[in-house]
Amino acid sequence: MSEKKSKSKNTSSKSARAKSVNPEQILSFYREMLLIRRFEEKSGQLYGQGLIAGFCHLYIGQEAVVVGMQSAIGEGDQVITGYRDHGHMLALGMEARGVMAELTGREGGYSKGKGGSMHMFSTEKNFYGGHGIVGAQVALGTGLAFANAYRKNDRVCLAYFGDGASNQGQVYESFNMAKLWNLPVVYVIENNQYAMGTSIARSSSETQLHRRGASFGIPGFEVDGMDVLAVHAAGIKAVKHARAGKGPIILEMKTYRYRGHSMSDPAKYRSREEVDAVRKQSDPIQMLKAKIMDEKIAGEAELKAIDKEIRAQVSDAADFAVDSPEPDPSELLSDVLV
């Protein structure tokens, strides 16, 4: 893949995609995206009821990105991201119960209530967080990739970050080192066009974020982040590139968040119409559903059954998160120094 090619928007054509993805995979993409969507809707409800407090950043609208990328990595590959992390954890197969219980700050949460929505981890699933400090995960992920190269373990790290984060200085310090040492890292930029209340145009001189690695010699590609199959195809190529020892690669996912930045966002920086237009025209779940119906991969009844199952899973997670006891106060004093 060369920098020049990035001008043709996606990395693969529709027909090429269709071949590499079988119907079961398509249904599993649908199921995973729906799980994230329903999970986030439920989180929003619990927040409204005062059962989740503080900062809570929903992933609704961006589901295709993590689901597509997840399908491109293998056992033992690492994932690291920022604070908008619920979708990443669910896609990795972390328990909905444990994620939700961390949101409610309970003992049953992945960080026993110490971390909250933005700070969860799973050594079992190779999930390295969950980071509240914008941009930190990019350099941390580069370190994970360094360890992979050092240990020659053939693993690749996916480091996700936002359009806003892409301006942080440490991102470029990382890019340089990653290319200098050809580290196996895929930088996945989730360009949802806003960093909190600031649109990308108001904060970035180069808004084509896939070009941000150009001066380091890091190839970059723009991907339709609302199309899970496009993400999947781009992900496969990028991961192959990184695993082959060719060094870092950037995927800029064009995506959109439907909800506010966090639960307390007045959203006065964009219009209702703008949000509605994306929802109507390019919702990742609706688009995949249409494809499933068109190609008769599954019928309405089957999809309804999936939805029902997922709703049950999510409401079970919510019950768990609400019933799980608060951590013992002594727990607050542990895990500081060994």
Partner: protein, 337 residues
């Protein structure tokens, strides 16, 4: 005079400053078009234009460094760091450049930079949105560190900070933005509109950033506090039914030792409060100085009530926060000793 929140008071201070002096400009993440995540800069871009009130990318290091360059070249910048927890990418710029330029240039340059930043807990912000990192900055010679506890002081101290030729880190206790908070999370939220310090003069005035304020006179013991803990101190003293003198430090560097020593020499007992962790917190400095200056007047060991020596947890916010119960226990202990 008008009653207003601390947010409005800060906004008013910036308005007054920008109106009066065209070298004053204000910038930060989401602080232009959006008006700041807490609304402190709302309406200012409309009024003063994109040139003077603008959005910065998520670049704390360069935000602070830019402010240093701007100040070296005739401007009086007010940089906003969205939460104090995010100031650390710019920490090097603060230590290595901002604080030393005046000394390094033998006074050829002054550094009229003000860094505004919300701090403290009480809003369920967890590990990365609740810090009280003031002590780090008090350890750097060459910068002033202030933290108002109410709208009246916030406006007057912000004007004084921006007009001061030294760099100032201006901490805004975010739990106090919309109302005083006495440490009891179960009470309905109070509003500044019913608090005397919510009364804010229109126009230009300053509050001396070298002076503490005695916010409650008393003779039995002295309680030293700043920011949110001022309100916790007053309410805890009232609940404990003791004749405590409560001092709002307002300024941490340079702290007003005269006012502190006078009070401790009178009462002979002292409790020091802060939300920040205990070890090497600002309380340690205060206590060291008090024992030097007031040793023979002391009747009991000085006690600190602080956050725990852990990150700020998501769960159990009120076990971490040094609330009324813990403060009252310390008051009792220092009186019984």
């Amino acid at each position: 005079m008008a009653r207003m929140t601390m947010i409005k008071a800060i906004n008013s201070a910036l308005d007054v400053l920008m109106e009066k002096d065209e070298t004053v400009c204000s910038f930060g993440e989401d602080a232009g078009y959006f008006g700041g995540v807490f609304g402190c800069t709302e309406g200012l871009q409309e009024k003063y234009g994109l040139n003077r009130v603008f959005d910065a990318p998520i670049n704390e290091s360069a935000i602070i460094a830019m402010a240093i360059g701007m100040a070296s070249n005739g401007l009086r910048p007010v940089a906003e760091i969205q939460f104090a927890d995010y100031i650390f990418p710019g920490f090097d710029q603060i230590i290595s450049e901002l604080s030393r330029i005046r000394y390094r240039t033998a006074g050829a340059f002054t550094m009229p930079v003000t860094i505004r930043t919300p701090c403290g807990g009480g809003i369920y912000g967890g590990q990365t949105h609740s810090m009280s990192p003031e002590a780090f900055f008090t350890h750097i010679p060459g910068i002033r560190v202030v933290m108002p506890s109410n709208p009246h002081d916030a406006k007057g101290m912000l004007i004084a900070s921006v007009e001061c030729d030294d760099p100032v880190i201006f901490f805004e206790p975010k739990r106090l933005y919309n109302g005083p908070f006495d440490g009891d999370p179960h009470k309905p939220a109070l509003a500044w509109s019913s608090h005397e310090k919510g009364e804010v003069p229109k126009g230009h005035y300053t509050v001396d950033i070298n002076k503490a304020e005695i916010v409650r006179g008393g003779s039995e013991l002295t309680i030293l506090a700043y920011g949110t803990m001022v309100h916790v101190a007053k309410e805890s003293a009232r609940l404990a039914g003791v004749d405590a003198e409560v001092i709002d430090l307002r300024t941490l560097i340079p702290y007003d030792m005269q006012t502190i020593a006078k009070s401790v020499n009178k009462t002979g007992r002292c409790v020091v409060l802060h939300e920040a962790p205990r070890t090497s917190g600002f309380g340690a400095e205060l206590i060291a100085q008090i024992q030097e200056d007031c040793f023979y007047a002391l009747e009991a060991p000085i006690i600190r009530v602080t956050g725990w020596d852990t990150p700020y947890p998501h769960a159990h916010e009120w076990a971490y926060f040094p609330g009324q119960e813990r403060v009252m226990r310390a008051i009792k202990q220092v009186l019984e000793n």
